[in-house]
Symmetry: C3
Subunit: 260 residues, 3 copies
């Protein structure tokens, strides 16, 4: 696949070439990781090739672009820094722009914690430096925020204010001001992709009790049911099978309710 | 605010000066982090300044001292090492003593795992070294342990023994011997602050099913309802919004029950 | 205890010698950790000696071999890299073979995420290098897979297919092909130990809603009730007390149901 980064990234998407080399080509530590795979657990590289590079990532149920967003969100949510450079390469090779990656990191600062975002930045920085790319700074005073469904937002706000306004007024105020009146309206990442990153972070960390609102929002914004189901498959490999099996009944119920 | 560390730390509390520089001044890696923020996701620094340094940390609902304890506990619980030096600086600047920090780390060894405590020590060490400070060693044979409510402790012990004594006798025995007859009675950290660190660690890791006992203990020991509510706000930023929203209904119910 | 690695590892099992030195002897970072323990929180080393090295690890309720497997699984599940070298030393000294460690890491690639496995490999590599050991490569085409209960597997497959086949067909297919028809049948790790690692990872990450299937499987494969109870005690220290207390009621119910 040709991307706007051309051949440079194309190499990274050739499944067959990934093999043990996929364990990192940038940092010295990553190359050591490659060496240690053969010494400590060569099975892991074999399985990563067999099941993930040559199979999972090739499945049509979800695009490579979406898989990159899902995986990057899962890694940021769980603070898995070593694996990020490889996934950022995949993201860039699948036409996720540096600006979109910046928006994903900033979004997950709010949805997984600012410490996660900062750690991700440190892990991803060398990749950007090696490719001489950087996110465009988008000063907020020049941004035209997205329009939004004012009635739905008013309902959300009224419910949250009424339910939790006395318990934690700060949380409730920032949820409106910093999240729904600012973060979610930034134009640098499509609402569907913003929701996809959010849902992925929730599934990857086992916080399935928060999935209902965000998966519905994702599907309202265009994520299809087969795509949503395959998000679980992608996360099974990157965050572990139990995370997938805790998400399955929640997704199943949401799918069913949307058909009522 | 003058602290016993004087000007040295005062600089770190000037919100306006934090900006991107807040991303670390000690380790080489931290400075690289600062550089990478501009390259990868400058928004994160902008938001950290706008919403956290110049707003969240200035709110009167919770003291800077308490915010430092809450944040440090959240970071230790989730193993977020990169962000620790900055928060330890804030803690020291808000009159959390090195001895109290040592007690918090030791407390969270039991409440988040010894591996978390050890990782925290490695991350915090360079800060202590740079400032030439260290925790006083408090040999346990010289400690006068705090007194405690013997009836309440007997009730706890009887309940846990009866409920889980046959399931896991080791866990039950250590809970009494190592935790309630030793850790919780150490005089180096006020019971209210010990509970504050515990509750913060639970909320930051989404273990809200364990909050009931510890939030009640915290409030029995002086944590007010508005303070507890603001703990959620602080953790929303550092551990992510979903952690806050999973905690809100649990705190709400506890607040209500305490008024019955 | 003499092991096949002889004196070399025996030193590492002498509780009294561990003390602060237990904080690492290989990497430069680990030695710094040792230095920082005294500076930042000497209590943590004191408690680790008193409660863990000289007490927990000596308890007869669970063998050192099992404790090593439980702890290694807990650390891999939570991505706690700093503590891994020490535990791998304990594992090797307790007759866990390098091949078994490779199988544990590969197993947890599926059960905690491939990023966890890769990070573990990088952390464990230097230990293997220092001891000049490595896992034997076991090419899958030469493996004779274990036999399995075809009726039970058919029941599992029918249930999962019927329940989640439409929600996430990819997850369901890989669960059969990659996990139950491949991973679980690999002969390099006894089914009882494979289940022990799985249960430990679930308890360490608080995913107790997935414990029922795997604890029953572990006990069907020979894990005794007292051993299972002591798994909780081991994880209390390494992953924190709240993880233990969230597991206790789940284990209790499973123990009771198995006696009906």
């Amino acid at each position: 696949m040709r991307t706007r980064f051309g051949k440079f990234y194309a190499a990274a998407t050739t499944g067959a070439a990934l093999s043990i080399a996929a364990f990192g080509s940038h940092a010295g530590e990553a190359s050591m990781n490659s060496k240690y795979v053969e010494r400590v657990a060569p099975l892991v590289a074999t399985n990563q090739n067999q099941w993930m590079e040559n199979d999972l990532w090739q499945r049509e149920a979800l695009s490579s672009r979406d898989r990159s967003i899902v995986t990057l969100a899962a890694l940021i949510a769980r603070g898995q820094l070593d694996a990020m450079p490889e996934i950022v390469e995949k993201a860039l090779a699948s036409d996720v722009t540096p600006e979109e990656i910046a928006e994903i990191i900033n979004h997950l600062a709010f949805y997984t914690g600012f410490a996660n975002a900062r750690a991700a930045i440190a892990a991803i920085g060398p990749v950007y430096e090696a490719h001489n790319i950087q996110a465009k700074q988008l000063p907020s005073d020049k941004l035209e925020l997205l329009s939004y469904d004012k009635e739905a937002e008013q309902q959300r706000r009224t419910f949250v204010d009424k339910t939790y306004g006395e318990v934690s007024p700060g949380t409730v105020a920032y949820t409106t001001d910093a999240l729904f009146m600012d973060l979610w309206l930034r134009p640098g990442l499509a609402p569907r992709d913003r929701s996809l990153a959010t849902v992925s972070a929730l599934v990857a960390t086992g916080q399935v009790e928060q999935v209902n609102f965000h998966l519905n929002k994702a599907m309202d914004n265009g994520l299809t049911e087969p795509e949503a189901g395959e998000v679980i498959t992608q996360i099974a490999f990157y965050s572990g099978w139990p995370k997938a099996f805790s998400a399955l009944p929640v997704f199943k119920e949401i799918f069913a309710k949307r058909k009522e």
